[in-house]
Symmetry: C2
Subunit: 210 residues, 2 copies
DNA sequence: AAGTCTACTGACCAAACGGTCATAGGAATG
DNA sequence: CATTCCTATGACCGTTTGGTCAGTAGACTT
């Protein structure tokens, strides 16, 4: 709608930004971050390609915007779960369940999550922060690492390096989620969550009765 | 060398194929699968781009060739490790160590491994076998799944679904390896291996003395 | 030496991409 | 109604890619 009143502009701009962001998210969910083209986002949003550049200076800026809002949402949800009352396995289960369910209900976000977690050959990506994952992903991992570290301080968790333990768990979880998204009829969420939590807390090995 | 004798041709062709494959591998290790261009492979192999199409019909065919030889190598190494004598944790540790060290010494293979394990929007990829990962990756996962299943049959491993357990472990490991490759001075391989094996066999939770 | 065979070459092509810009046209203003 | 203002447009551009093909040159055959 060209020519909207001047007062409406400050109302319209955030709306357009959200519309474009959501369209971009849908495209990412279908094609992945690499396959996401500006033209397809424009079509998805019902706008022309040039219009996108009225609200975002470049493709990269749009990607950052979308990634940030997505990670913020996930971060918040998992932080809440980790902060609940309960034993260590209880809270780990709550966080794991939250993580899996988050992507269960918002499947479109997961491919973005993966792309950010394991960035490709991105231009300045590699130079600035490619060393061990995107800052957004590192921040998310720190959530789990801090949880494990706190558990170790209270003597509830064996002394593995918390950051590496977090990485192992997060990546293992991501693998399970990716599998789930590919399955036409995946097992109940709780089943996969229980696998992770039980395997982690008690181990998978059957100890002979001593 | 144009105009080689006719008899040498059947000697030369496998050599060229290997040369091109190895050049492609080096390019993949630098730029990732998406960033791998035919021109750069040609330069790396000291050939013209057109020559590549004398030995491979398309880019896709070249990728499959490279991936297959790489997976075969990994498959063989891990199969050997899983088949050794020893207790369950011993053999799991051997396989894990083999897996990590394989990529430690041949870093160039890991990005290919990841690309195959988590394929992007590839054209007919998605249609034919995108459902839950590339067949090559599924075959590799089955290696671990069978190992876990055998352990369960002997009552050594708790009854988690073996395929999902394998997926969880493999992806967690992949995360650790990816991190290692990004680190300028990663911790000893054994340290990360011990984390995985100990966390899996005994669990990370400190059980109160009963 | 002339002719043939063929591995090899690199200029070339069409398609697809991110990004630009002159233009259009409805709302606000007078 | 005339003018101004501004969002939205889509044709267009430069670049990069996978893939092609007429032509080159060196070794074999006779």
């Amino acid at each position: 709608m060209p020519g909207t009143s001047k007062k409406l502009r400050e109302l319209l701009e955030p709306v357009r930004i959200r519309e474009i962001g959501e369209a971009a998210l849908r495209v990412v969910s279908r094609k992945g971050l690499e396959g996401m083209t500006m033209q397809e986002i424009a079509d998805e949003a019902g706008l022309a390609k040039g219009t996108l550049y009225l609200y975002f200076d470049s493709r990269e800026e749009l990607v950052v915007h979308v990634a940030e809002s997505a990670f913020q949402e996930l971060h918040l949800a998992v932080t809440e779960a980790l902060g609940r009352e309960g034993t260590f396995p209880d809270r780990l289960a709550a966080a794991t369940l939250t993580h899996v369910e988050f992507f269960e209900h918002r499947r479109d976000l997961f491919r973005l999550f993966l792309s950010v977690a394991h960035p490709g050959p991105g231009a300045d990506h590699s130079a600035r922060h490619h060393r061990s994952g995107h800052p957004l992903y590192r921040a998310y991992l720190d959530l789990f690492a801090s949880f494990f570290a706190a558990g170790q301080a209270r003597g509830e968790i064996r002394p593995f390096p918390p950051d590496r333990l977090a990485l192992f768990v997060a990546e293992g979880l991501a693998g399970l989620i990716l599998r789930r998204l590919g399955e036409t009829d995946p097992p109940p969420v709780e089943e996969d969550v229980r696998l992770v939590v039980d395997a982690l807390t008690g181990g998978i090995h059957v100890r002979r009765t001593p």
